[in-house]
């Protein structure tokens, strides 16, 4: 992998988020994208007229009822006739959009890129229809027809993890407690809540071992990030000298078989995210990360379900296989801990409008590295580096991206 052309570097100039909520009845996807874009442009201090390219991030034509939605987002913000590309990687779509911006700018196809993403998932269809739509992102000939759906797939992964390592339901309930709590300091979050492990354990069983509060949310919302080279930023970005400089220094992508049933044993078997491990290895190598627990100040982790966050810790190299539950109990990943994760609230507390999610993770890392987060969720900067991990399917498609502050 020879991707580091040091002659070009990619910087994160600004970000915006249109509130994540159970249902945004005040508008639809195009309206939310407009809001996120306006906030990002103001944050970056750039004019849309100067931006050369856009990337569209959304996941589901079923949810969004609009093919080629990117054309609408792009023309709504006056980007025509400039180029646009849509990316799609299930739950990793937003992470992939960030990676796409990096690739386009590093290749020289453009010097600046605006990335916007959204999803209309809220309550415009009943939740059983929503789960069926999401299930269509698993194998529709082999898995969906037997009433397979994502909570059930992830529950099978977690039962296997519990069986193999002795991981306890209370340990992954702690993830839900942490992420709902972190969301209390994020006014754009869908589901801020002060809850206990008992609350999670006593919430309605959806699919054993996952209770209602172990699950992430179907949210409406949008997010936007703006990337550019240093040369471009110096010329077009009014905040370049005023705000801390944030560089994108690493990106990785990995995959696994669509069906868990096809994955090799013993690793990843049905317990681990092999694609995530590969994505992390690539991104860490690019950014020079040796010990992730020390080399990051914060990390947004793809907590589609509480147990997924634990397993992700292991495949992101934060700890050895099977040890994530114990570290969670020690508070390693809490605010004030060794490596605070999902300071935004994550998918569980902030929300999961799929096409926006990975981009929102990037906005959170940008805010943290600039020390602009709410004081109660602002992390201490030591390594001055933050990471984000998003995945689609059952870890079928994984992206890890890294931002660093340059002082």
């Amino acid at each position: 992998m020879e991707v580091l052309n040091k002659k070009r570097r990619v910087f994160v100039l600004g970000g915006g988020i249109s509130k994540f909520a159970a249902e945004r009845v005040d508008g639809n996807m195009r309206d939310w994208v407009n809001e996120a874009v306006l906030e990002a442009l103001e944050d970056a201090g750039v004019d849309i007229q100067d931006i050369e390219h856009s990337t569209t991030s959304y996941f589901s034509d079923h949810f969004d009822k609009q093919l080629k939605a990117g054309a609408i987002f792009h023309d709504n913000i006056g980007m025509c006739p400039k180029p646009n590309v849509r990316v799609e990687g299930g739950g990793a779509t937003g992470g992939l959009a960030i990676r796409n911006a990096y690739a386009y700018i590093m290749s020289g196809l453009c010097d600046s890129m605006i990335v916007f993403g959204a999803e209309n998932m809220g309550r415009h269809v009943p939740s059983d229809v929503a789960q069926q739509f999401i299930a269509l992102a698993s194998d529709t000939d082999w898995e969906v027809q037997v009433a397979g759906f994502y909570i059930a797939y992830y529950a099978m992964m977690m039962v296997a993890h519990m069986e193999k390592y002795g991981t306890k339901e209370e340990q992954f309930a702690l993830v839900s407690v942490k992420n709902h709590r972190n969301a209390m300091y994020n006014p754009k979050a869908h589901y801020p809540m002060d809850i206990t492990v008992e609350d999670v354990m006593n919430s309605r069983m959806i699919t054993y071992p996952y209770k209602l509060l172990d699950n992430c949310l179907l949210s409406d919302g949008a997010a936007c990030l703006i990337f550019a080279t240093e040369e471009w930023a110096k010329k077009h970005c009014r905040t370049w000298e005023r705000k801390p400089t944030i560089e994108m220094t690493g990106t990785g992508c990995g995959t696994d078989f669509m069906r868990m049933a096809d994955r090799p044993h013993p690793y990843p078997g049905i317990t681990h995210f092999r694609g995530k491990r590969m994505a992390a290895e690539q991104a860490y190598k690019m950014a020079g990360v040796k010990n992730p627990l020390e080399d990051f100040d914060c990390f947004e982790v793809h907590d589609a379900y509480s147990g997924v966050e634990l397993v992700s810790y292991e495949d992101l190299g934060f700890c050895k296989e099977g040890e994530s539950g114990k570290l969670m109990e020690k508070g390693v990943f809490d605010l004030g801990g060794e490596l605070p994760t999902n300071t935004s609230g994550g998918l569980i507390g902030f929300g999961h409008p799929v096409g926006a999610t990975g981009i929102a993770q990037g906005v959170e890392i940008l805010r943290q590295l600039r020390q602009e987060a709410h004081p109660k969720r602002q992390v201490e900067l030591n390594a001055k580096r933050g990471g984000m991990d998003s995945h689609g399917g059952t870890g079928t498609f994984c992206v890890v991206n890294i931002f660093e502050r340059r002082d």
Partner: protein
Amino acid sequence: MGTELISNLLEIFTAEDPMPFDHPEGDPWKDFRQIMRIEWKMEFTYRHILGKYSKFFIELANKRFFTTECPKCGKVWGIPRPLCADCLTITRWKELPGTGVLSSFSVSYFVPAFMKVETPYVLALVKMDGADTLFTHQLRNFGRVEDIKVGMPVKVAYATEPVSHPMLLMWFEPA
């Protein structure tokens, strides 16, 4: 009003600003807070081809469980695939005894739409005897939920009543 002319109209209402904390100067979108919601119904029927693995479903109707074996590397995929994903060799059909061991499971008290299944229902990953990878299907007739254990022997059971999809010609049961 005239709105009664709209046959799929659900409601017209005034939305609140979802981000007042960002708008100390007042709502920038105040001219756009009147919202209409409509019902939008879409129905499609597809004539779907079940790919080169159609024989699997044809044999299920004969109460036989087939999968594929790679003639080059010898891998037997639990779920048949016409091309071996390990060595890109075109595979051959192979019959399995239809017995196996439960690798993992989940117990659902919630059903996605369009699926007709009684709750709680159990989704299972099974290591089929004679195969190198797993197979996904429901486990039925398991007695009590507490009796389901990883590692328990299971077998394929075949439908005798009409089914709505060929995949439902089978399921797993405790062996």
